[in-house]
């Protein structure tokens, strides 16, 4: 009982109160960061649920077009280049909404797209981008299925 009263007394002193206020201030800062982080995560999840399917569908269409153009690569280089540009825009949009492993995969493919120059000599590089794009599309589809269970 005396111990409890001494604790209460020490808190009520000016120094004790200042320490307590500091502790609460730091704790509320941490909670604010946590809430902000969660809001951001929720917003991204909502954006991904709303826009994800359409963006993935666009990417699938772009991959399909790329595959068609690759039948006659030399004749369709301008179209391949245009399609690569479209793929870059869609991937950038998806990257902002993603987190974790899918985001890392999108970033990786995006770096391939950004470094790929469509030319006669670079057919292998374009094919590499196409292959990586196919893999990331499958990963994004899986991620979209997981989202349906999460929210």
């Amino acid at each position: 009982m005396t111990r409890l009263s001494s604790v209460i007394y020490s808190v009520l002193t000016r120094e004790g109160f200042a320490v307590l206020a500091n502790v609460f201030s730091i704790a509320s800062f941490i909670v604010s960061i946590f809430v902000l982080w969660n809001i951001r995560k929720l917003r991204n999840a909502y954006m991904l649920r709303a826009r994800g399917p359409a963006l993935i569908k666009d990417l699938s269409k772009a991959a399909s077009n790329l595959s068609r153009f690759m039948n006659e690569y030399a004749d369709f280089m301008p179209q391949v280049s245009e399609e690569m540009g479209r793929v870059g825009v869609k991937l950038r949009s998806l990257k902002r909404k993603l987190g974790g492993a899918p985001r890392r995969s999108v970033k990786r493919v995006l770096s391939y797209v950004d470094h790929c120059e469509v030319s006669v000599q670079n057919e292998e590089q374009v094919r590499l981008v196409y292959g990586e794009l196919l893999k990331v599309i499958e990963e994004l589809k899986d991620n979209q299925k997981d989202l349906e269970w999460e929210t």
């Binding site: 399909s64 595959s67 039948n71 196919l134």
Partner: protein, 105 residues
């Protein structure tokens, strides 16, 4: 995504490349059939369009010619692209376009 799934996508993407580079030559599997087939590394690769209760998708199978045993590749978008590339080759779309565009009126 699992490395296993990646492997299948890589394999089918490689088949797409070989088809488009005319290193893999496809043929119609038979009269009245929409199937296509080719030989690779001593095995037969078969592509078919499957209609599963209105859900149409391509199926890629690997067959051992001696025993006739068949194994099916897991479905991915790459299989659709392979079907398109194989059809493009079998129908001769490239040659047709060359002839059409080079023909003087």
């Amino acid at each position: 995504m699992s490395a296993e799934k990646n492997k299948w996508i890589d394999a089918v993407a490689k088949l797409v490349t070989l088809t488009q580079e005319r290193k893999l030559i496809w043929r119609a599997a038979g009269l009245g059939s929409y199937g296509l087939e080719t030989d690779y590394a001593g095995k037969v690769l078969r592509l078919q369009t499957i209609n599963d209760d209105g859900n149409i998708y391509p199926r890629l199978q690997l067959q051992e010619p001696g025993s006739g045993q068949v194994w099916e590749f897991p479905y991915s978008e790459a299989t659709e692209h392979l079907m398109e590339a194989a059809r493009y080759q079998v129908v001769g779309v490239g040659e047709f376009l060359d002839e059409l565009l080079n023909k003087t009126a």
